[in-house]
Structure formats: structure tokens, C-alpha cells
Symmetry: C2
Subunit: 216 residues, 2 copies
DNA sequence: TGTATAATGTTATAAATATAACAAAAGAAA
DNA sequence: TTTCTTTTGTTATATTTATAACATTATACA
């Protein structure tokens, strides 16, 4: 069994989203060519990506939207219910807690921890925000394999140490602390907004430098 | 002048962050080998990346941290002041508005627009939240080339149309609407949190499937 | 029932990216 | 001053990734 490249994996959520759109539009079948068009990709790449996991289409017909969506969902493991805790109930933490539909993304939010006493005790999505100090008490009676970290870099390392000691190995990390370097046996997905904004800045300048590349 | 690949560009913010850390630790010089270690990269890649833009090091010595940081800052264009508007002052918009240090990232937040009348009129970082309806009035007296979109997908398309009509060409987009497909002459940097979380889900499952790859 | 068409699955090629190798240059020490 | 060490800048190679080509298979229609 050949290793699936990270580039393919990162495209799977986009396939899944587009297929969800198509499904809600009532479209029943789709060809690799049309799927490539919505993905801004090529038919070849679509077929190669999908065939990493199996032959989901039918020659001469194409792919059944609902079936392909469901298969990609299975590949991503969205039917899972990874119990997770959220560290940080500031604006970002609250945005994550209220907006993300964890149940359809393979996770279940079990607890929220926060340092700020003004926020502790409030409710988010029916979950009471607990104090940072209660983490160990929570894990004594509950399980969680995943943590979502929406905290500034400086305060995050001791918390990661504690979570790691409690068995948490999966991290959705919005901080700049390099978890994977300290704990190589973890799975870490980073969301670095400042990096993203710097990249935007570069690309704006780059475009302005080459104002007219229609004829390149 | 050869085209710089997007992979190189996406590494620049990380170099910049690590160099900032080194600088604040009082470290004055760094070799490509050591920089590669903190980047979890290779010395070859570090040198090739940097040499896309010029020879910033000295043979036999290495790179001067402050100089290299400053050069990468210039490459990224962080000294710019792109005037920007924020669309959406929900939890995510507030998180962005309060946490991001736009001034050191090449942007200047000029205005915030929101639909929810309960939020309109409140202040974020000293900026009064205005109504969506006031966008055109604002642009009549102010300029902005960039928009940060922290809104759900369904409400975003008409707003993008209006912003595009007003001359906005750069988008930091947290929604799932595909701006670049509709307006190919824009620069769009997407932050797709649900995609990121799905990727995490896949990688957790993948790791659990292959529990022991220490001997691979 | 047979043939034409459409579109996949798969193999082969091209392009892009990362790694390795090495020569050149600067600084340190003898 | 000369040599040795360090480490860059750059060229060459290997690997990975994306694209293109093609043979196969299912469906639709005559």
C-alpha cells in the first residue's frame, strides 16, 4: 500500500465540500472533467486523487455525487467522534466553539477551559467554560484524545505538557508553538493566520510588480 | 527573473517568525544548518529558498539574524500599509480585529462592517463597527485595496460584488466562497478552518491505522 | 443485438520540488 | 602570511507531483 501524499489529503476536504454543494443542488452525477472545473484542477488529477483510495466511478458514466461524497467522508473519517477539549475561550475560541460543526467533522467538543476568570462559568454551545486548573479533574472522569488550542504562544507550552501527560496526542493548533517538534508522536494540524496574512501581503506586492501578465 | 514557487513563499513567514524569536533571544548569527533544524527542514532548502531573492549570508560565517529578518520582511512587503476593511464582526471577526497585529503585517485596518444591529455601533480596537449598508459611503471618502471576510458563505457573494465594484482586489477570505473563480484578477488568500479540521481527522485515523512506523 | 460514445482506471511522460554535492569565499588560528 | 575550517552560493541529481495519453468498460441508442 503506497503512501498517500499530503497534497492529495489536503484536496480531499475540498472535494467533499464541492460534492456537498452539488448534492444540495440536486445534481446526481458528475464527471472528472466537471469536478476538475469546480476545483480549478485537471480531470487527470481528480481521477488520480480518487484512485488512490479506490475506483469510485463507472466508466462511461462518471461518479455518483452522493456515493462519492460518502466515500470521501469515510476516507477522511468524518464519521468518527474524537472527544476533544478546547483550550482558550477568547474571541477565537468562542468563534471556533460556536461556528464549527464538530459533529460532522469527526469530533465532539467535550469541555472548554479558560484562564480569564471573567469568562469562566459562561456557556458556549451549552458547554460551561471551566478553569484551566480543572483540566486534570476533568480528565480523571472523562476521556479526550484531541485538543484545540486557541491561545497565545507564550501561555501554551505548559498546557500542552499537561495535556500530553493526560494522553492527548492530537492537536488543532492556532498558536505558534511547535508542538510536533517537542512531541514527535503527536498529530498536529496548525492554523497560522499571521503566516497566511504575510503570504497575502507578498502576493499583493508580487502582482503589483508584474501588473500585466495576461500575455505571459 | 525566474518565478518563485508558492511553496517557497509559504515558508517565508515561518523563517520570519523564527528569526524574530532568535532576535529576541539575543542570537546574532545563524547558519543554514541551524535554521533548518528549527524549521524542521534541510540546510539545502534553506539556502535555496534564500538565494531565490539574493545572497544574504556570508560564506564561512552564516547569516546575520537581524539582517536576514529585515530582508525577509522586505521581501514579504511587511513595511506596506495596505488599507483594509473587515467584513463581519462576529466572534471570528472580533478575534481577527483584536488579535492580529496588522500594522506589522503590511496592512492597516480602516473600517469594520457588520449586519447584526446588536453589534453595529460597538468599538473594536478603537474602530466603530459600521453597518453593511455604509460600505459605499465609506469608500466615497476613503480608500481600501483589501478586505478581510469573516462571514458565512451564503451572505458573502453580494458583498464581494460590491467590494469588487469599489475597487477592492485583495481578499483574506475565511468563507467558502470561491472569489478567485468569479474574479480572476484578484489576489485571494483563503483560510479554510473546516478543511484544516478534516485534514486533522484524516491524519489521526491514518496514524491509528499504522500504529508503529518507527521501523519503516 | 451491435455499435458508437462517454468517461473511467491506469500507465507513461513531463514538470516541479527537494536533496545532495561541490567549488568559492571569508574568517580564524598557527 | 599561509593554511585550515566553516559555511555559503550554485550546480547537479534524485524524488515527488502533476499532466497527458491510452486502453478498457459501461451505457445508450439504433
Amino acid at each position: 500500500m503506497k503512501e498517500i501524499s499530503i497534497q492529495v489529503i489536503k484536496r480531499l476536504p475540498r472535494y467533499y465540500r464541492f460534492l456537498s454543494d452539488l448534492e444540495s443542488q440536486g445534481i446526481e452525477k458528475i464527471s472528472s472533467t466537471k469536478l476538475a472545473a469546480v476545483m480549478s484542477s485537471t480531470a487527470s488529477q481528480v481521477r488520480q486523487d480518487l484512485n488512490c483510495f479506490g475506483g469510485f466511478g463507472q466508466q462511461g458514466y462518471g461518479y455518483t455525487v452522493s456515493n462519492l461524497k460518502s466515500e470521501i467522508g469515510k476516507i477522511l473519517g468524518l464519521q468518527n467522534v474524537h472527544p476533544a477539549v478546547l483550550l482558550g475561550a477568547g474571541n477565537l475560541g468562542r468563534a471556533i466553539a460556536t461556528h464549527m460543526n464538530f459533529e460532522s467533522l469527526g469530533f465532539k467538543l467535550k469541555a472548554i477551559f479558560e484562564k480569564d476568570t471573567k469568562i469562566i462559568g459562561t456557556y458556549l454551545r451549552g458547554i460551561k467554560v471551566l478553569s484551566d486548573e480543572d483540566i486534570e479533574a476533568f480528565f480523571a472522569e472523562n476521556e479526550a484524545d484531541t485538543a484545540f488550542l486557541t491561545l497565545p504562544k507564550d501561555s501554551v507550552e505548559p498546557l500542552i505538557d499537561r495535556l500530553y501527560a493526560l494522553g492527548v496526542r492530537n492537536f488543532w493548533n492556532f498558536s505558534h508553538f511547535d508542538i510536533a517538534k517537542k512531541y514527535p508522536d503527536t498529530v498536529v494540524e496548525n492554523v497560522h493566520m499571521t503566516d497566511s496574512l504575510m503570504t497575502l501581503c507578498y502576493r499583493i506586492n508580487d502582482k503589483e510588480k508584474q501588473p500585466d501578465d495576461a500575455n505571459s
